[in-house]
């Protein structure tokens, strides 16, 4: 019996496909992978899937979802078919991401100090004042290296024209990097022969880079600063990642109750020896829960006096409080301007065209074109509170019409991009599914970008929502170098 090609029924014509070009031929960077999958055949591929699922269970890679029955740890949804990006292209993306974060940090530093960009009329003053992530408590602060957002997760999408666009920058507590690392561990287990023959950039140096970046933030030059990862606790959906990163860095994993700030405005942790000073905190708690003395009075997650200690310069917080001011989808629209303004450079990576509803003219356009647009609230994350025009019902469109009119500042709109697709294992064949990419960028004394990042995939046919809390999965991402 002749075996049918696994690609015979694969139709890559609905959007830009990462692996298969128009006409059904694999793209250059993907030739080996597509051939290899073909040589395996469907049954063997499914066998590798079972191996991956067993590995995920054993390694206990989970994320927590909230439901009526309480919190459940779910196995990490992983698609075994990797997503490939050519190294040549990646070098450009890497430079673009570093450039972007540098400009964003200049902006945040400016916002909390001279506000020169507002005085120069590039950004409207009320944009800052009305941002729900602006923290007046941070005015006048000067974190080391002018770096407020030390860890950034930027979401990239490839549109129909084959270009990569930046969709948003997550500057508060971006998550997903642990899954990027674990995905590679799983791939090594299930496709060892493939990794042996291709030159793929490793991803597992991230914890080392993160550690060095955090150490560079220590208030006093010290060879061995005490570094802690501050987690909201074991019920947080990203607890797995907090524990993973602490473990990989050899840092302490602490909860609010483990820390206290004394009269000397220093942060201490409660240890078996007594109190020990903490120099750097990688906090995975939102600003508003950090310190009940300053923000939410009833927060039990945070530490009383933490802001006091930070302002006195006795502890470094990463990301710095208030960094989220640039994690606003309205501010996002100004990033290309910021790059020109602060760095005197041309932006390397393009933004997705963005309509600001705060602008009357643009708002009118948005209201008239809702069925074609994607509308996002300015300050939400996790894919919540969005309208995907082309997939929306009349009722939803009406509802957003009103929401936008009531509070235009809170909304932006973008053209509905035809996100690129990637072959994904669906029951018993490969089908195209929409994907995005979240690389992680570090900025302390130096900048660093992960080799690739976390590719998220919308597992439902046609869906554009890649968030794991809403039925998304992930893929290993290979930056493949074909020279050598």
């Amino acid at each position: 019996m002749a075996t049918q090609s696994i690609w015979a029924q694969y139709s890559a014509d609905k959007a830009y496909d990462e692996m298969i070009a128009a006409g059904g031929k694999p793209r250059d960077a993907c030739a080996s992978l597509s051939q290899y999958l073909q040589s395996l055949g469907m049954d063997a591929i499914k066998g590798r899937l079972s191996a991956a699922e067993a590995a995920i269970m054993e390694m206990g890679i989970t994320f927590t979802v909230y439901s009526d029955e309480g919190n459940i740890d779910r196995a990490w949804p992983f698609d075994i078919i990797p997503r490939l990006i050519d190294f040549q292209e990646w070098q450009v993306v890497e430079a673009g991401l570093k450039q972007r974060l540098k400009a964003l940090n200049c902006f945040i530093d400016d916002v909390y100090n001279d506000q020169q960009i507002i005085k120069d009329g590039l950004v409207p003053a009320d944009l800052i004042a009305s941002s729900s992530n602006f923290r007046k408590e941070c005015l006048g602060m000067k974190p080391k290296f002018g770096s407020w957002a030390n860890i950034c997760g930027s979401d990239l999408v490839r549109a129909g024209d084959g270009e990569l666009y930046v969709l948003e920058d997550n500057l508060r507590v971006p998550s997903g990097v642990s899954y990027m690392i674990e995905n590679r561990v799983i791939t090594k287990r299930i496709f060892p022969e493939l990794l042996e023959n291709l030159n793929i950039l490793p991803v597992d140096d991230y914890p080392t880079q993160l550690f060095e970046m955090l150490a560079s933030l220590a208030p006093e030059a010290d060879d061995t600063p005490q570094i802690a990862v501050l987690t909201p606790g074991i019920y947080n959906s990203a607890y797995f990642e907090h524990a993973f990163l602490a473990q990989q860095m050899g840092a302490e994993l602490v909860e609010g109750g483990d820390l206290l700030v004394k009269d000397d405005d220093c942060v201490y942790m409660r240890t078996i020896k007594g109190l020990e000073k903490v120099d750097v905190i990688y906090r995975r708690i939102d600003d508003l829960f950090l310190d009940p003395e300053v923000f939410h009075k009833d927060s039990v997650l945070g530490v009383k006096g933490l802001m006091r200690a930070w302002k006195a310069g006795n502890v470094a917080l990463a990301n710095a409080p208030g960094a989220g001011v640039a994690d606003d989808k309205v501010v996002y629209a100004y990033v290309p301007e910021m790059i020109r303004y602060y760095l005197n450079e041309q932006p390397i990576l393009p933004n997705v065209p963005t309509y600001l509803c705060s602008d009357a003219e643009q708002c009118a356009y948005v209201l008239a074109h809702l069925p074609e647009l994607v509308v996002k609230p300015a300050n939400e994350s996790g894919g919540y509170g969005m309208l995907v025009g082309p997939h929306a019902t009349q009722k939803e469109i009406k509802q957003f019409h009103k929401l936008i009119q009531d509070n235009p500042r809170n909304y932006i709109a973008q053209p509905a991009l035809a996100l690129s697709t990637c072959p994904t294992l669906c029951t018993d064949k490969l089908e195209p599914r929409h994907i995005d990419l979240r690389p992680f960028i570090l900025q302390g004394q130096n900048s660093f970008v992960t080799a690739g990042g976390l590719t998220r995939v919308a597992l439902r046919a046609g869906s554009l929502i890649v968030n794991s809390s809403q039925g998304g999965g992930s893929k290993d991402t290979w930056i493949i170098n074909r020279e050598q």
């Binding site: 054993e58 390694m59 473990q247 050899g250 206290l260 409660r270």
Partner: protein
């Protein structure tokens, strides 16, 4: 080291040791009961007594049959001391202490838990149960072995060692409670006939047969066995040895001086027990007293090193 972490590691070790001990105890009891003729006054009920769960058991079941007892002791999540509940608690503690141990530590316990959870069906028959218990005991030993080879002898390791030995001493003293039945003046002739086998099984539940034979070099006798399990300084599961391990670990921890009087008191209490002079009726009380001492030691440890809910 964080107080919170110390507490989690301590409990992780206690729960894992409890998991292993429960598996050992049930495995040994299964062997014992297969050997005994019908009608001997020793059965699954004694096991409930040793584990201190008789009352909880009778709230749920009427008959201490093999099925009911083993299910309650192995798989019942409403019994916090059951093997599965202990293993789940150990897993939760290790899941939340991953930053303190090598990766494989978590993976081993997680795998063991998944095995225990996914194979509950096999507990209903004797053969399946034997395989299940074997797998759990081997899993616990793999973990202990891995840690011995990969974990620095740091404070983390010390809290694990303290937890393990406290739990171990507790279980050994509970197993010694078999003596109150086996040595009872009014025990049946049948029981007397099977005496050697019975004591052999008590030793077997602690993997102590060979070490005991090499040490005692005499016919197996009840009081000798009890004395060995209580005071042999070299056997890893004897109460005295466990206490020595605990003392050794505690001495290397910060702020340990406060515990000295307490440690001395436990040791004096232990050494003052004279099995030859203890009647079977008194034995239970004596062992109870010993368990109370260890319980006090636990509270002292918690007060010295674990997280307190204090301000400032």
């Amino acid at each position: 080291m964080l107080s919170r972490s110390a507490e989690r590691l301590y409990w992780m070790a206690r729960y894992l040791e409890r998991t292993e001990n429960t598996a050992r105890l049930i495995s040994a009891t299964m062997h014992l009961i297969y050997d005994l003729p019908y009608g001997v006054e020793l059965g699954w009920r004694n096991l409930l007594n040793i584990c201190g769960v008789e009352e909880a058991f009778y709230q749920r079941f009427k008959n201490p049959s093999e099925q009911n007892t083993t299910r309650f002791l192995l798989a019942d999540m409403s019994n916090p001391g059951s093997l599965l509940a202990s293993l789940a608690a150990a897993r939760e503690n290790i899941r939340t202490s991953r930053e303190l141990m090598p990766d494989e530590a978590w993976q081993q316990v997680n795998e063991m838990y998944l095995y225990a959870h996914n194979n509950l069906d096999s507990l209903s028959n004797r053969r399946g149960r034997a395989v299940y218990l074997q797998e759990i005991m081997a899993g616990c030993q793999r973990f202990t072995g891995f840690m011995a080879g990969a974990m620095s002898r740091s404070d983390s390791a010390r809290f694990i060692c303290i937890g393990r030995n406290l739990e171990r001493a507790d279980m050994t003293s509970r197993i010694m409670d078999f003596g109150t039945v086996l040595l009872a003046e009014n025990r049946s002739t049948k029981m007397r006939e099977y005496e050697t086998i019975l004591w052999l099984n008590v030793l077997k539940s602690l993997s102590a047969v060979l070490m005991y034979r090499k040490h005692v070099r005499n016919r197996i006798k009840g009081t000798d066995v009890l004395n060995y399990l209580l005071k042999n300084p070299d056997f890893p599961r004897s109460v005295l040895h466990c206490l020595d391990e605990i003392v050794h670990c505690i001495k290397h921890l910060p702020n340990a001086a406060e515990l000295n009087p307490h440690l001395e008191q436990v040791e004096l209490h232990l050494l003052a027990i004279d099995i030859q002079q203890t009647s079977p009726e008194q034995l239970h009380e004596v062992l109870d007293g010993l368990q109370t001492q260890f319980d006090g030691l636990h509270r002292q440890i918690a007060a010295t090193w674990f997280l307190k809910n204090l301000e400032g």
